[in-house]
């Protein structure tokens, strides 16, 4: 449990070094495989081609690795938020309108609820409200 958490936190906050390690690890694998094919008699170019065929798309494999490190959800969420902020800053008039609408909407609701709450919902601040006379 704890190791899982540490593992994920490292993936998240030491992202660049984890990525570099992944690159190094896969590169080592590919080099070993190329050498194996060369030993079995292929030319260097054929060996490279064969290795690439066997391995599949490098980007795809990396993405799968990231996914199995269990941080994809957090990462895509962060990416989505950054994207949203970028889009909003690109259209300031729209952003201001939306912000004002939300601010006024929430503000008006809060104000009216405070009033309704005090007048209609809360009991009067006396010991026995029913016995009061108008």
């Amino acid at each position: 449990m704890l190791s899982d958490l540490i593992f994920r936190l490292r993936s998240l906050f030491r992202r660049s070094s984890v990525e570099n390690e992944l690159d190094d690890e896969l590169r080592f694998h590919l080099e070993q495989q190329v050498e194996k094919h060369i030993r079995s008699g292929l030319t260097r170019n054929d060996a490279l081609r064969q290795t690439r065929l066997e391995f599949g798309g490098l980007g795809h494999v990396k993405e799968d690795c990231r996914e199995s490190r269990g941080i994809t959800f957090l990462e895509t969420t962060a990416r989505d938020i950054r994207y949203a902020l970028r889009q909003l800053s690109r259209t300031p008039a729209f952003t201001v309108t939306v912000l004002l609408t939300l601010a006024l909407g929430i503000g008006a609701n809060a104000a009216i609820f405070t009033l309704v709450n005090a007048v209609l919902l809360e009991k009067l601040p006396v010991a026995d409200p029913a016995s009061l006379v108008r």
Binding site: R8, E21, F28, H29, G56, G57, V61, D64, S68, R69
Partner: protein
């Protein structure tokens, strides 16, 4: 050149990785080579799925990774079985034996 390779059934890759690492620490490439050898060349690990599996097992804490130097003096990431990995290997070996026995039994009766 046409060898009768069999693709790994779903879920057996983890078991094979754990079993291979029970023999001692290995880097990813050696694991795929070892599996191929030990299965007399019948099984071939999809190399693209090996590394996601290794990282998943590492996250679960069943294997531990550290960087070391390979036989040909290069920096490589080595994996070794952890204590809980050893237990997991026993559990999965057991489950596998039950599964194959049950399937064989069904196939035998028909």
């Amino acid at each position: 050149m046409v060898a009768p390779h069999i693709d790994l059934p779903q879920g057996t890759l983890d078991l094979l990785i754990l079993r291979t690492l029970a023999l001692g620490r290995q880097h990813g490439w050696a694991i795929s080579e070892r599996v191929q050898q030990m299965s007399s060349d019948v099984l071939r690990i999809q190399q693209g799925s090996l590394y996601p599996a290794l990282h998943r097992l590492e996250r679960r804490g069943w294997i531990k990774a550290h960087w070391g130097t390979s036989e040909n003096n290069r920096r490589a990431k080595f994996y070794e079985l952890s204590k809980s990995g050893r237990q997991q290997l026993d559990v999965e070996t057991d489950a596998w034996a039950k599964l194959t026995a049950a399937v064989a039994q069904i196939l035998g009766t028909v």
